[in-house]
Symmetry: C2
Subunit: 463 residues, 2 copies
Amino acid sequence: MEAAARTNQNVGVTSWLPLFQNLKDKAAKLGKKLKKIGKEDPRRILHSFKAGLAISLISIFYYVNPLFTSLGSSSTMWAVLTVVVVMEFTAGGTLSKGLNRTFATLLAGALGLAAQRLAALSSHSAGEPILLSVFVFLLDIAAAMATFSRFVPEIKARYDYGVTIFILTFSMVAVSGYREEELIKLALQRLSTIAIGVATCVAISIFVFPVWAGEDLHNLLPANIDKLACFLEFKGLEREYFGEKMGSGQILEEASFLISTYKPVLNSKPTEDLLANFARWEPGHGCFGFCHPWKLYLKIGALTRQCAYSMEAISSHISTSKNSKKYVQVITDTEFKERIRIACAEMSSETGKALAELATAIRQMRTPSTAVAQHLSNATTASESLKTLSPAKDASLPEILQSATTAFLLSAVVKSAHHLATAVEELSRVAHFKRQDQAHKDSAVKPVAGGESPPHVVVEIEK
Amino acid sequence: MEAAARTNQNVGVTSWLPLFQNLKDKAAKLGKKLKKIGKEDPRRILHSFKAGLAISLISIFYYVNPLFTSLGSSSTMWAVLTVVVVMEFTAGGTLSKGLNRTFATLLAGALGLAAQRLAALSSHSAGEPILLSVFVFLLDIAAAMATFSRFVPEIKARYDYGVTIFILTFSMVAVSGYREEELIKLALQRLSTIAIGVATCVAISIFVFPVWAGEDLHNLLPANIDKLACFLEFKGLEREYFGEKMGSGQILEEASFLISTYKPVLNSKPTEDLLANFARWEPGHGCFGFCHPWKLYLKIGALTRQCAYSMEAISSHISTSKNSKKYVQVITDTEFKERIRIACAEMSSETGKALAELATAIRQMRTPSTAVAQHLSNATTASESLKTLSPAKDASLPEILQSATTAFLLSAVVKSAHHLATAVEELSRVAHFKRQDQAHKDSAVKPVAGGESPPHVVVEIEK
């Protein structure tokens, strides 16, 4: 018996040890993850302290200010609630939620009071049950209507939070059961509390290390375009296209890393939509006016994704070619292959340069340089040159397919890049970006020298 | 003077009239839009009334129940607040928010009480200002930590709302300034109110015309796969590939409608992520167990998008060919062209059939029939047959490009379809779908008769 008990105890200890180890591992993993998240964007750590600061400020205000204390402890809670719910990462997000909250409360409060008065008038002639039914019916209809309005995409995008608060406040006022004078006093008190909370959040968001959604969107677009440029300008890409062996394993790894840089662009739509939506609420700041054309940013984002879809096709083509050894070994028609290779290299690097210049232009808020048109026209020339090519007489389809498909897919990228350049030009016109020569004075942008550039350009890529 | 005044008045009336007309137009437009939204998914109208019902129920409960009334009017407000905030369109959404709210309140309440007690203990030896600083510092740190945790993607996806409520409740308890006994009473009261609100919402969500996120996700996937199948099986598509003239304008319009059906699939990721996230919270319902492998649905969704990217490339190829007349007119090598055309038609229609069968299998929750493998192997055979093709000796690259590129892009779709089929099989195995022969008894699925199917299949498409 005793031995059994001891064994049990041992089992108990040993079965607890791995559990503890497991927990420790998990905690270490979480710690690492948190560190990485903080490192990725240090403004996140700042935001966390800003949120803490806002709550602390409201709490101190409540402790210290006799005026505020007289509003009653329930008011403090509403102020804290407002701060916690309204405080967003970007200034636009905070403004959007804060203004939605304030105006929805105002509107719903007024309507709720009106509903109350209507019910009170009718209750003079009828009894309590009728009053109750009128209330409940009114409430039901109002809440249902407001809930349904949230399915309208435009309302969902901009006023979703406001509608929630509207339903909330309207219901609360309608069911409160207070007398009218009392209710008005309560409503004004609640409104002032919410206003104080919103003002605190908005002030901290805008004046303490502000994070502007507009600026984030403005930086996101060139970053995404640069990712595409990085894919196109990658020196080893053409080698990949034609299935040649790379120098070493390390370069191969680098290659697959660089080739997949464009992947996040494929799913960039939700982030862009959210940022553009918040950016519309932001006041003018830095180089962005109040009416900055954020809609054009969405258009540019969509065109960037269009390019990325073509790259996805190129990338899947490369992996297909790599996997099927048969394709690689039958290529014999070296002159034909070499000419396509040169054309592809030209298209790829020229389009890459054009995209990089477009990204730089957006980033520096200036009109794209004439180099863009030059690079794109070079790329188009290379794409047109393919039309005069003829494969050798004994060429079989697979070898033509392998080389020519890459060429076609690259032509599609060239075409998308043309559309992108047009959209960026439209943006620079509508948003009154600096003219290129003006911007040129204070930034070092190298224009392309001649019309013809060498077909095989070595481009260094920043890691 | 008088004349001038009259003119002014006239101007006033005439300038108001168009404004009124404008408002009327806008209202009519909004009405149409609301009607369309309701028609698209009638469950939205039901949901609106369910939300209204929940608020009404809580209000009646408050009016009628003497127990509830004794909790004080502030409690009612919290119950209404809970209902408004927690009620979501899908049962999973309501459950997710409701459970998050309840447990976050519980945890934060307990921690807040502990913090209060700690501060109270220290306040015996020190004065008020130190107590205040301790509070504020503690609050600041706790709120900042909780805010930062929202940047962790896993927490953001599943517990974002819970963390908000945690910060909220913790701050409220910490700043409340009540005595301890009073606070415990208040906390229990608040918790019970929230529990009543959450229970009402969850009950209405689950028992009154429930909308299951899992079911929506389960329907969304086959709908998306069907969109791809619809693109591939479209009879006129191959004619489009080869730039031939369509019969009439009406058919052309239909063509561009059918060809763009796959477009919404490109951006389906956020919807799928949201539904899968909500589906995990749902109890077993209908054919779905509690541990239904929703993650595999996300995998299938990603592979579906992969197919759609290739289709985007095909579609852009078609529009390119249409725009550049040069391409079309130089095609002379009719035999070569005809053979590619047949191969493309075969790949397209066979893959389309395979996808349609996969969609049906998911929809009927049965293992995909052997017809899928058959169709895919037919498509692969067609794709392989291209390798033996040789263009005529005097063929120039553009004409080869135009035909061959479509062929390559279709091969990419065939490859993606293979991956998709594997994923659907994995799902049917893990989720214990019915075996094909079992399901076969009660549903009419036509198996493919022979190994070879005609290269040119006419497929009817539902509008």
